[in-house]
Symmetry: C2
Subunit: 332 residues, 2 copies
């Protein structure tokens, strides 16, 4: 029956390290309903999947829909994914390993599910609806607590042999650099993430070289947020400005190496650090990257701030579901 096909609904889902968010979209990508829940720690993958289902059902209830009304659900997860199987390989923060998320959710809901990495979801949203629209090749660098990356190449998320890829935070930028969470040394993330910047600024604050930061945030790196860093620069802490520009320069060096490899049209910068200081990051990264790249690529790519904010990940997951899932027939 035609009217059953009239409105196509999609759901985007963002699985975070501590909370989850589901959003229901109509076919114009308007948000009809959203539901946010905390993840109960210690309940394992089984408890986590149950909590995901609960969140999906509650979001649908708010929109007066059932799983049958969805063409599909896209789920962004903060870990490596085997996309073809919808397998979540690992979620280090929650201790999950090898969770067949697509299979479990499709069994329970009877509706198609696409699973992807959350950073890939964010850059895919920028490609479809944000700062990378229409680009043949767009890469994203998201600098916050860590540094994530993604690439959309000729309309599709670039994917690895057995897992999602484009881990720009883990290319080496300093031969004997700081230890990184991944176990290596000198990864971009170990040099330029908010945590890496906060560690340097905390030392400066402790020494008395960043008095405004010290007053605002103290020397606990967990409390030195991107907004506080920006505030202390504005208040006159020159050393904070120097530290952040140096970190941005390393992002530019990494971007330069990546440009020498894949030569994108657009480089989108996002994440908490960039949102707090977009001009600083765009300027420094573009400068360092252009200095670093081979002549054939110089000034052949744009560096731009992300256009979408918080909801990029959940929107991108829904958009990817639309792109990658064959819409099912409602009356079948």
């Amino acid at each position: 029956m035609p009217d059953a096909e009239a409105v196509r609904h999609w759901m985007g889902f963002d699985l975070g390290g501590t909370k989850m968010l589901a959003q229901v979209y109509d076919d114009n990508w308007n948000v009809l309903a959203k539901e946010r829940k905390r993840i109960h720690p210690g309940t394992g993958a089984k408890g986590g999947v149950d909590r995901i289902l609960e969140t999906i059902h509650d979001a649908l209830k708010k929109a007066n829909l059932t799983p049958k009304d969805l063409h599909g659900i896209g789920i962004g997860c903060p870990g490596p994914i085997e996309m073809s199987k919808g397998l979540l390989l690992a979620l280090p923060n929650l201790g999950w390993q090898g969770v067949p998320l697509k299979e479990r959710l499709e069994e329970s809901l009877g509706c198609p599910v696409a699973v992807l990495n959350d950073v890939d979801a964010g850059i895919y949203a920028e490609y479809r609806k944000g700062a990378g629209q229409g680009a043949r090749c767009v890469i994203g660098v998201f600098a916050g607590t860590g540094i994530g990356g993604g690439c959309v190449y000729q309309g599709e998320i670039l994917r690895g042999s057995t897992a999602s890829c484009f881990e720009i935070g883990h290319i080496q930028v300093m031969s004997n650099g700081p230890r990184c969470g991944c176990g290596q040394r000198g990864c971009l993330e170990s040099v330029s993430s908010r945590l890496a910047i906060a560690a340097q600024c905390a030392r400066a604050a402790y020494r008395g070289d960043a008095p405004h930061l010290l007053e605002a945030s103290g020397t606990d790196i967990a409390k030195i947020r991107s907004g506080a860093l920006k505030g202390s620069i504005d208040a006159g802490d020159e050393v904070v400005d120097t530290i952040i520009k140096e970190a941005a320069r390393y992002i530019g060096i990494a971007v330069g190496s990546v440009v020498n490899l894949v030569s994108p049209d657009v480089v989108v910068l996002g994440g908490g650090l960039v949102e707090a200081m977009p001009d600083l990051f765009v300027t420094q990264v573009a400068k360092a990257a252009n200095k670093r790249v081979m002549p054939a690529y110089r000034d052949q790519f744009k560096v731009v701030p992300a256009a979408l904010k918080d909801d990029a990940g959940v929107l991108g997951a829904a958009l990817w579901a639309e792109f990658t899932l064959q819409p099912r027939h409602k009356n079948s």
Copy 2:
């Protein structure tokens, strides 16, 4: 007429820094004829294109063919290419700039021409007929006088926004490393190319630490070839072994960063250095790369030596022409 279509001929062409090679293939990729010529220095792009045409005509003559008998010609060039236009952007060694090679040759020959980077041609040949057959994603690292790279992703050469790409020799592996020919510091090529290795070994030879190398090749880095390096290791020059293993380790670090980005199925190692010491390079690169990559990619890619030798570039150019050019109708 059907018999005019019976045999489809293709030509591969390899434009080198000092010489050029044309090969005519039948539809089973048997070589029917080949022609090699030196490039006359100082004749510029105009003289160079004329020389290319001369070489093509002479190769065809040897095979008793005319341009009308070719479905297409693939031309590999040692510089950045705008593939969609067949534009050779620059050939630094010969001082050529912005040569519309496809247009010029098609005008003169009346036969379709595809222009690509010579390293891309080599890795494409490995994908079609060599060590990377059937791989979803294969990357090539060719270490000789310089270090070139290429990537075949889902059946096609990965291409940049306005030029050929995957310049793995110019990703940074040492923060304040040696000066590179590209103008930057610490590029892989500046650390691990034959020239970089020869420069270190020449110093060791001069100091008396590599007596066999000194006897065989002296201290002129232009004369320290890959075979001589291998010979001096076999004769007992331990320092040469150490220097080359260290250089191979840096290739592994670069490959590790690239695996973190594109997560290939196969990494093909080639070039003069690798041909002289395949086991050393495969072992060291695989070890360093696996140490460097994130857990999700560990042991998820094979490192193998190139299967094709000298003719990979010219064969790959012909194969790419077959893949990318619409076969024309002979009787049109």
